[in-house]
Symmetry: C2
Subunit: 208 residues, 2 copies
């Protein structure tokens, strides 16, 4: 009998996280309330407090589930996969409330007294591993420091999506990501590699 109970708990936790992401996405942190999230998830107070003790704990969980919410492009680690990831993430930011809420919380966390760079570091680590693959394939210029560029890209991308969100509600995010790559690629990869890279927005249904 232990198995179904555990499964139910996992499902409840997921339902709460999903509802929390929706409410944080709509109302921001200060506008969200535990009771609103409970209602949205259809769980009792007992169910909620079994999994999350506070709004802050919920925000932390939504924030740290960021990578779990994203379906990563498949394929071998290389520059094209990194570029595809950035466009895929732009698409997710436009369409996936879980990703949107978790990034919003990561950006606005100062406003509710948090200073946690874990999720930024996780992205930097993920990108670093793509860049190691790119290095092995001879796609990077000798002077590129993969770890450093991973951090540069995480910072640059965070601000690009923020500016796009404030300017156009992220409608122009894919074009902004393309422009960012346009100016970054000459600094990291030689012309013969650059010429065969596809700098194109993510399309629904493309092999992921």
């Amino acid at each position: 009998m232990a198995e179904p109970k555990q499964e139910r708990a996992v499902k409840t936790r997921e339902a709460i996280l999903h509802a929390a992401a929706e409410v944080f996405d709509e109302c921001g942190y200060s506008g969200a309330s535990i009771s609103k999230i409970m209602n949205r998830a259809g769980v009792t107070q007992g169910g909620m407090y079994f999994h999350f003790k506070s709004k802050r704990a919920l925000a932390q969980a939504v924030m740290s589930s960021q990578q779990q919410f994203v379906r990563f492009p498949k394929g071998e680690d290389c520059l094209q996969r990194l570029i595809d990831l950035t466009f895929h993430l732009a698409h997710e930011l436009q369409n996936n409330v879980l990703v949107r809420a978790s990034i919003r919380l990561a950006v606005e966390q100062g406003e509710f007294g948090m200073q946690d760079d874990t999720v930024y570091q996780e992205w930097a680590d993920q990108i670093h591993s793509y860049l190691r693959g790119a290095r092995e394939r001879g796609e990077l210029l000798p002077e590129v420091d993969e770890g450093e560029f991973a951090q540069v890209l995480v910072g640059a991308y965070s601000g690009t999506q923020l500016y796009s969100q404030i300017s156009t509600g992220r409608v122009d995010l894919p074009e902004r990501v393309a422009a960012l790559w346009h100016y970054l690629l000459p600094g990291i990869t030689p012309p013969h590699v650059r010429s065969r890279l596809r700098i194109v927005p993510w399309e629904e249904g493309r092999a992921a």
Copy 2:
């Protein structure tokens, strides 16, 4: 008698703005209160409401005074001046509470229900004019679109300072700005120009 009265009003407004920036910097938007700002500025309720009707109006004023708070590096419009500006701004973000508060509000504005990209556009315009100077001096590659790159830089810089703030309280911001330029410059300027650009942190007392 009109003159001194007006002068006094200007001074009161400045004192309020300064106090508001301090309180927003320390407490964020939701943690700040009009009364806390009044006490800090040493103004009466009447004085406050003559200038600002609400916390939101105060936040808006602090946000939109951003460029007025920054002392810009002097000199002719060119790439070096743009690079110097980004390092100077890093220094201001570390040391000038007015700049820090206004950028914090610009980043976290979603959390208090604002979506105003004016201050981002103002930076893009300022950078665009530096880039026009750089173009006239033959410092830019033919394929660079000055207006587009200005927007790319504003986005990339915003996220760079955000990541640095969350990671290290902005202690490592100058190094992060240097790394960003390291990867961006090959995409905008030819090697002979690049080799004479100084990518160095701002120093107090340097001719501004």
